[in-house]
Amino acid sequence: MHEISLCESVVQVIEDQALAQGFRHVRLVKLEIGRLAGVEIEAMRFGFDAVTRDTIADGASLEIIEAPGTAWCPHCQQRVEVLQRYDACPSCGHAPLELTAGDEMRIVELEVE
């Protein structure tokens, strides 16, 4: 359940932003989480409600964009989609591939007032 820590980190970033950008309340938090980031989306949703209580993001909705995992196949010389870190190339079967995206965890946007 490191998702709780991740939610706490999200709240910290929001509090810093509140100081920098001068807002009082957050209505919506939009995150981008890669499929290979090792994050359970459901645990994140559960943690978010618990962790944001009595903070500036109390009651805020959480929107999570799940970003696909992509990797570079040195054999086919193309970018391919992967579901797991150790997936072989879906077109030629080559492994290992060079992971290019999918392990990101970002706060993308906030709706604030």
């Binding site: 490191h2 150790y86 290992p96 970002r106 906030l110």
Partner: protein, 272 residues
């Protein structure tokens, strides 16, 4: 040290020698001083703001500060991760015992509860501090920063950070270490690298421990190493038995090699 605006106060974590793990409060959010410093018409209107910030940016900031603190003292830190029961503490106590004449060493122990492990470490004569994470399932760079100040490892030493036994959660948290070492024992499944790929993906070394037990098990060493390399082709693998001592010399050589450039980076020990 590196704790200017830290967000602690979770209250569950404690570091030996500290009554509380910093009760310092969050910075005061002064809403009267908005962007324009006062009553801005329309301030209460909802608006969207782009942030594009990594969720772990804070942790990574603390990790960078730890890394700088360590580098300036020529200290090599290793983040030891594994499942519970892989033999991390036994491996450490043997290492501390065997190398204590040659290398200054210190240990940060992470566990949810008890200081049993730190006591085992201190019994070898090494300096150690225990972090209890309470309900937390991993160490983070902020806790480690506090532990560093409380421990005060010697300049040019080797610092072992024994993470909470867990192959999932510690994976995302950079502590400021020079290298992550994952320990897998042959009494576990050989497919663990595939089941917990994130942990293996970021490790520089895998220690396959308890190999003295191989004759009694059906563990396929080659297959395990193959799985690990599928996740992380560049990872080194050493087979050891902390109990019998088999393979430990190769581990000690690896420690010497990883330490060399860090120590060379600081010609004179920094006086604390």
């Amino acid at each position: 040290m590196m704790c200017t605006t830290c967000g602690c106060g979770e209250g569950e974590t404690s570091i030996e020698g500290h009554h509380h793990y910093h009760g310092h409060s969050h910075p005061l959010l002064d809403y009267g001083k908005g962007v324009a410093g006062g009553q801005v018409p329309g301030l209460s209107q909802a608006r969207m703001i782009r942030i594009e910030q990594d969720i772990l940016a804070k942790n990574d900031g603390y990790a960078a500060a730890n890394r700088q603190w360590l580098a300036s003292r020529g200290i090599t830190a290793l983040n030891l991760v594994s499942s519970p029961g892989s033999g991390k503490t036994t491996l450490l106590t043997r290492t501390l015992h065997d190398l204590q004449e040659e290398v200054p060493m210190a240990v940060i122990e992470g566990d949810q509860q008890t200081s049993v492990d730190a006591e085992r470490i201190r019994a070898t004569g090494a300096r150690a501090v225990q972090i209890n994470t309470g309900k937390g399932c991993h160490l983070d760079a902020h806790m480690v920063g506090h532990a560093l100040t409380s421990l005060g490892p010697e300049a040019q030493s080797l610092l072992f950070i024994e993470n909470v036994g867990n192959l999932v959660c510690p994976a995302s948290f950079d502590l400021g270490e020079a290298c992550r070492v994952v320990i897998l024992s042959v009494t576990e499944g050989e497919d663990k690298p595939l089941k917990y790929p994130d942990m293996f993906a970021a490790a520089g070394l895998m220690l396959l421990n308890k190999i003295d037990l191989l004759p009694h098990l059906s563990f396929d060493v080659e297959r395990c190493i193959d799985y690990a390399r599928r996740i992380n082709p560049g990872m080194q693998v050493l087979q050891v038995s902390a109990a019998s001592g088999t393979g430990m010399q190769a581990w000690y050589r690896w420690l010497t090699d990883i330490r060399r450039p860090v120590v060379a980076g600081v010609a004179e020990p920094v006086t604390a």
